[in-house]
């Protein structure tokens, strides 16, 4: 597995360490979609700080990951998109629409925690 995936409480954290091939990206997608069920995870963080290129395939695969994880009942947040990567993505028209993003791992965890609290409140309110 090119991308290590850590289980941290109710969350899975995938940290991209190096350049990924298309096959690596698909492997990451399949692993996360499976693990979110195996560990009954509420949230997934994909840390792309180390990715120096986000082309149309990588971008589409990240979007697919977020949508598939949502269908599995959990939330995904992509963290660590670098400034120059963001610049290039916008030029290419890759906006990751419908996908949550956060500045870094810390903000990503805070985002998922807020989601968990909100679900807790909603459940409380409806009894």
């Amino acid at each position: 597995m090119a991308v290590p995936i850590l289980k941290q409480g109710a969350y899975l954290i995938a940290s991209v360490q190096s350049a990924l091939t298309d096959a690596d990206l698909l492997e990451l997608r399949n692993a996360l979609v499976e693990m979110v069920g195996r560990y009954r995870s509420r949230g997934v963080i994909v840390d792309v700080t180390a990715m120096d290129v986000m082309d149309s395939f990588a971008s589409r695969t990240l979007r697919d990951i977020a949508h598939m994880i949502r269908l599995r009942g959990a939330e995904t947040v992509i963290v660590g998109i670098q400034p120059e990567v963001a610049f290039t993505m916008v030029q290419l028209g890759l906006t990751l629409e419908g996908v949550a993003t956060a500045l870094d791992l810390e903000e990503g965890l805070a985002f998922l925690d807020r989601g968990a609290k909100k679900i807790g409140r909603d459940v409380g309110a409806t009894g």
């Binding site: 091939t21 290129v53 082309d55 610049f87 290419l92």
Partner: protein, 155 residues
């Protein structure tokens, strides 16, 4: 100097709009597997770095190389990327040539439209590369293959 889009009909006898002077530090990367996409864009980044491109331009260039290399795999299965430095009246540019002997592009006009794809991809590749680079030329002949040449000038 701008390179024009060449459709297979318009440029039937002309394979290249412009003959290149020899490129400096020319290197070729065969594109046969998805690892080769990563290798091509890493080589491009190193070459662009040597030319003194800014960080954001390094990312633009590597991303453009990635899109072009993937197009080769996707549509032609195999091909070759050539990278090199072009010196033109005192300015330096990084030239990326993606060449394959695949089926060719039937309708270049449509292939250059955002959202048009025959492969189920996002259809952002070719128009995206054109936006990322300064100059862009595509020559394609049905059954004979496609050559995309893109240049980024260092300012």
């Amino acid at each position: 100097m701008r390179w024009e889009l060449q459709s297979s009909a318009a440029g039937a006898d002309k394979r290249h709009v412009r003959e290149f002077p020899p490129l400096k530090d020319e290197t070729s990367i065969p594109i046969q597997r998805d690892q080769d996409i990563v290798a091509a864009r890493q080589k491009g980044r190193i070459l662009a770095q040597r030319l003194g491109f800014s960080n954001s331009n390094l990312t633009l260039i590597s991303t453009a190389i990635s899109e072009l290399a993937r197009n080769i795999l996707l549509y032609a299965k195999t091909g070759e990327m050539t990278l090199g430095i072009l010196e033109d009246h005192g300015r330096d540019g990084l030239v990326v040539v993606a060449r394959d002997s695949g089926p060719g592009i039937a309708d270049i006009g449509r292939a250059m439209q955002v959202g048009y794809s025959t492969s189920g991809s996002l259809g952002l590749g070719l128009p995206g590369v054109k936006r990322l680079m300064d100059e862009f030329e595509i020559v394609s002949r049905a059954g004979r293959g496609t050559t995309v040449t893109a240049t980024k000038w260092r300012r």
